[in-house]
């Protein structure tokens, strides 16, 4: 047999075999709903406009359900445009501001302001920029092909060793359901209340909240207000340990941020952080997210 053909046949058999027998359980991350690649690619290139646009980082895209908010009329058409590590600044702010429908009866931009979203780290390296910079062919691949290519998705070495040793590579399973309205309903089973602290400590020890970013956000708020767009700002809930860490390392002064944004014309909604339990110190599980969404929708409606 032709050696190239023989090699191709063996390779095809190997790929099919590994694809079918790849370690599946217990999965470290279980994803449902819209395929994640498609979800992020489409979100970053959305052209639609909405009555209420939700903006912010992972605490927003996991923590606010447009479905739960729009159920409480008169929120209207609501969409979650949160991105990982999104910065409340620069191109991302322009993008979310453009998603608010100026023809809406009550055009509203809801911004979840986290300490990290006001740091140079978020400004330099965030999920929105990473997605927006992709080439057209990468985007096409992510939207149209990625869902079909799940079979050949990379396997992390930790998954392999986990499967070989009969134990998952991490203690908990991350469950994520990607909704068409931009929300990612999430859960960590079992919860690890301090899991996110290490990563935040690493990032925030070198990247602090910068006053110029707060001022830039204030400038955008004032501009939006001048265009007739209502801006609602709030601090997404996090655990007490996380809030202490953010105050200590990032130098986050919520009173200053609140005063700056209010002076620029934003409505600042106070959220009781202790009323919503996080599963990792930073993010809300599905039930808490729905509750926060409803509470916020009521506050916006007032």
């Amino acid at each position: 047999m032709d050696p190239t053909l023989r090699t191709a046949l063996i390779a095809a058999a190997l790929v099919a075999g590994v694809g079918l027998l790849r370690p599946r359980g217990p999965a470290i991350v279980e994803e449902r709903g819209v395929h994640p690649s498609r979800f992020w690619a489409e979100k970053a290139r959305a052209r639609g406009r909405f009555d209420v646009v939700l903006a912010g980082d992972s605490r927003v895209f996991r923590g606010l359900s447009p479905g739960a908010m729009s159920a409480l009329a008169p929120a209207g058409r609501v969409h979650n445009f949160g991105f990982s590590s999104a910065c409340a600044c620069g191109p991302y702010l322009t993008f979310v501001a453009d998603r608010v429908d100026p023809a809406s009866a009550r055009p509203t931009l809801v911004i979840g302001v986290t300490p990290h979203s006001l740091t140079p780290h978020a400004e330099r390296d965030n999920g929105y920029l990473a997605e927006a910079r992709r080439t057209p062919s990468e985007v096409a691949e992510r939207i149209y092909l990625a869902p079909a290519l799940g079979f050949v998705e990379p396997i992390a070495p930790s998954e392999l060793t986990g499967a070989l040793l009969g134990r998952p590579a991490m203690r908990s399973r991350y469950l994520q359901r990607y909704e068409a309205d931009g929300w990612v309903a999430s859960a960590l089973e079992p919860a690890e209340p301090d899991r996110a602290l290490g990563e935040y400590r690493r990032v925030l020890s070198t990247s602090k909240v910068e006053r110029r970013l707060v001022e830039e956000l204030g400038g955008v708020v004032a501009e939006l207000r001048a265009r007739g767009v209502r801006v609602v700002a709030f601090r997404p809930p996090a655990s007490a340990a996380m809030r202490a860490l953010e105050a200590e390392l990032a130098g986050f002064d919520e009173a200053f941020v609140r005063a700056s944004l209010t002076a620029a014309g934003a409505d600042y909604v106070d959220v009781d952080p202790d009323a919503y339990a996080t599963y990792d110190g930073s993010h809300l599980g599905e039930e808490a997210a729905v509750r926060l969404s409803r509470d916020l929708a009521r506050a916006i409606a007032r």
Binding site: D2, P3, T4, R6, T7, I10, A11, A13, L14, V15, V18, G19, R22, S137, E138, E141, L145, V152, P154, I155, A156, P157, S158, G198, S205, T206, S207
Partner: protein, 477 residues
């Protein structure tokens, strides 16, 4: 178009479906190579095609003019060099030169904003411009020296400068080798085809499994704003040594394999450089097509061994600058020039070869010296490189538990080991093949079935163990 993209797989499938139909006759063959290559290159930005074709038209015309007006050969060559080096300067070095001028004038109390005044189009480096510019220059220089007869067909010339497998990251193929080869066609037999496919698979394996999986850790350490420990910098630098080798030699292997599938042979670009026992050996086995280009078109015309040290430094500094418009690349070139100068002056390889200890430690010492050079290559600026080197050389590289998390995430040590083992196997296989050739062995090797399995395993590893997709490092040059 990146080799490691889905678009390229579709492109390659279409090209190799058409190739057997077009290859037997010269015009369709050259037309297919040129058209496919322009599609391949234009995929980044169609405007780059204008630049590539424009450079080609100039050098094609200069070549013909040199033949028709032999007395004007030297001015015509000078014009060709001005066009090629001028284009390269405009796109690659004008920003750097403007920033240096701005800095210098500001220090003299006369602030300028030359860098800001540059047109936007000059701020983006067209992929592979350094590679095809050098390839195109080799044509006019060889015609000028009488080593090559100019081609009368622009299609032929365009196929030569744009040939997609090596267009953006080499190997740099000489006009006198590739131009005549393009006029012939020899369909690869089953053995050559399998060798070509093996080379492509190995190239992808090095790139997507080893280099891409190491990249994140290297970035995490070198990009850490607070800096890192001596241990982390040494680890990351060794990983970067493996990353850049697998990235670049992987590209070269893919390029050579694709050319072989078309029936052409590109020069070997790497010959296990980290096994080198001297800096001279290293340069004979690292980016060989560029090293030999600089040797033939810079070092020797400068007088070669008449002024070896001066010529070496000029060549090495130019080689550093070829890699990028930055003081870090200049420092990288200077570091290698210094190493070769010291090695020559102290006759280190000869002395090492005479002692058993020297024979054992030569390769590790050369590797460490090369790694120090990689710090300049990887750092974001010269002060950054010096900071990293200070940490690496002034503190003992003790394992720092706070940084173990970085070295565990993504399993970089595992992929570093994979890279080392793959390189060791490849080196042993090359040595066996060389021995077999020397012994006059013919026919298929006995282990062909085993090789099929090995290649298939590499393909499966590329699919399931691939790292986050990254562009090839050498595209930026």
């Amino acid at each position: 178009m990146l080799f490691n993209s889905l678009a390229f797989f579709v492109f390659a499938a279409a090209f190799f479906a058409l190739w057997p139909l077009a290859a037997p006759r010269p015009r369709p063959r050259l037309a297919l190579i040129a058209a496919a290559s322009l599609v391949f290159y234009g995929f980044w930005d169609p405007r780059y095609v204008v630049l590539l074709v424009g450079t080609g038209i100039c050098d094609f015309t200069f070549g013909l003019a040199m033949e028709r007006a032999p007395r004007a050969k030297t001015p015509l060559l000078a014009a060709s060099l001005v066009v090629n080096l001028g284009t390269l300067f405009a796109f690659k070095y004008s920003g750097f030169a403007a920033r240096v001028a701005d800095g210098g004038l500001a220090a003299l109390g006369k602030p300028t904003h030359l860098a800001d005044a540059l047109p936007a189009m000059l701020r983006v480096l067209p992929p592979g411009i350094s590679f095809y510019t050098f390839q195109s220059m080799s044509y006019t220089i060889d015609v000028h020296q009488g080593r090559l007869k100019p081609t009368r067909s622009f299609l032929h010339f365009l196929a030569f400068i744009s040939m997609f497998p090596q267009l953006v990251a080499g190997p740099i193929v000489r006009a006198r080798d590739l131009l005549p080869a393009l006029l012939t066609h020899r369909a690869p037999d089953a053995g050559v085809r399998f060798g070509a496919v093996s080379l492509v698979a190995f190239g992808f394996f090095k790139k997507v499994v080893v280099a891409d999986n190491l990249a994140a850790t290297v970035e995490a350490v070198y990009g850490a704003p607070q800096g890192a420990s001596s241990f982390a910098y040494w680890m990351a630098t060794v990983m970067f040594a493996m990353q850049i080798y697998c990235d670049f030699s992987g590209y070269s292997d893919i390029a050579r394999g694709l050319a072989r599938l078309m029936g052409y042979e590109f020069p070997q670009n790497f010959d296990h450089p980290y096994a080198a026992r001297s800096m001279r050996d290293f340069w004979r086995s690292w980016h060989m097509s560029l090293s030999s280009w600089f040797r033939d078109y810079v070092y020797l015309p400068l007088g070669g061994r008449e002024h070896p040290t001066r010529n070496l430094w000029i060549t090495m500094l130019l080689s550093g600058l070829w890699h990028g418009a930055s003081f870090t690349f200049l420092a990288w070139g200077a570091w290698h020039a210094l190493l070769v100068t010291v090695e020559r002056a102290a006759r280190l390889p000869e002395r090492a070869a005479r002692s058993s200890v020297g024979r054992v430690v030569a390769a590790p010492v050369v590797f460490v010296a090369v790694c120090v050079g990689w710090v300049f290559f990887r750092a974001s600026s010269l002060p950054h490189a010096l900071r990293v080197l200070r940490v690496m050389t002034t503190s003992v590289p003790v394992v720092d538990l706070t940084e173990v998390a970085i070295l565990r995430a993504g399993w970089p040590l595992f992929f570093l080991a994979v890279g080392v083992v793959a390189e060791w196997i490849a080196r042993a296989a090359d040595a066996r093949a060389a021995d077999a050739r020397a012994a006059g062995a013919t026919g298929a090797p006995r282990s062909l079935a085993l090789r099929s399995v090995g290649v298939a395993v590499m393909v499966a590893a590329c699919v399931f163990l691939r790292g986050p997709g990254n562009a090839f490092i050498y595209f930026q040059f």
